[in-house]
């Protein structure tokens, strides 16, 4: 199976997974396994608060970056945050 065909199937599979109720969370879909185990550990220990959220965010970001490392530069750029652009309308202020 060539690469392009594999990507098409990946896209279809990804699209179907996103529609599963209630959908897969970002840290599960793109993050590292540590994002899940650490959440579980904090939950068992009954820990919560802003410092816990920061730790989870860091682990999530490391995991996502690890996933993106295998992607092309175009995919990496397309994941960057940017303002939604509106179409240009002639004579509108």
């Amino acid at each position: 199976m060539n690469r392009q065909r594999q990507r098409e199937f990946d896209l279809i599979a990804g699209n179907r997974l996103s529609k599963l109720k209630p959908g897969i969370e970002r840290h599960v879909a793109l993050g590292h396994i540590h994002s899940i185990t650490l959440r579980n550990k904090f939950k068992r220990m009954g820990l919560s608060g802003s410092h816990i959220d920061s730790a989870l965010q860091m682990v999530d970001e490391i995991g996502i970056q690890k996933t993106l490392n295998n992607q092309s530069i175009g995919v990496k750029f397309s994941t960057m945050q940017k303002a939604k652009t509106k179409p240009r309308i002639w004579n509108s202020k």
Binding site: K86, P87, R88, I89, W90, N91, S92
Partner: protein
Amino acid sequence: MNILKPLKNEFPPSIVNLLLKEGQRWESQNQWYEALGTGIIAIIGSARSGKTSLAYSMIDYVIHHSNRPIILDSFPQKVIDEGIPDHWKGRVSNKSFTEIATINEPALWLVDDTGAHFNSRSALETNNKILSRSAGILSHFGGGMTVIFTTQSLSAIDLSFLRFTTIAPCVRWVDEDVIHSERKEWIGEVKHGNYLLSQVSKDVRRRDYFYSTKDKCLVKSNFPEFLKKENNPIKADLMSRPMRYHKLEDKQRMIGVKEQKKKRVKDE
């Protein structure tokens, strides 16, 4: 019926550039331009997407802001006599594109539903041969002519319209299942235009805007007063679907139906 004069910069520069007469100047967004006055404005859109009404808006603009004569290609005389708004009278005539060499004025032509007159499948017909020869020298005839043509797909029309001179394509709503059959050179622009239209338009057939590919922007599309059925339903229909008012033989000639030869019956 109130006749509102369109603003001089109602359309973006690439369109005004072709609508005004050669050398006419206009200001738009603090910049002065000088009109080229010759070229082709292509309006692409599915049936009932407002192609003809946009073409009429452009003609109305020309009526108000220039003294160019208007020629409605192969329009029925009934439409010229009874359909056109009063302020167009004296400026509009109906001639066939085959007569282009006889016109010695910087006319603006409207060729409505080009697929019927200049179909890409009839490349060797007289109309298409005249078109392919004249498209490149539009600027020479009558001091520079402009042609507005409307079509449902650029695949259906003769390539001569797109090979020569300056063109300013305008994209209206195209049915999403029809876009796949668009010419490969234009499919990207048509798809992009339709995507942008879907972002801003609330109308089912996106008739409140069109996309100017040369200016890379959407343009608000005003529906002409004389096309509103509330004002005059008969005139509105005459202008909205003019080809309906052709005689039967003219309609048959347009779509290429020829009368079958009568079979000779031998006397017994």
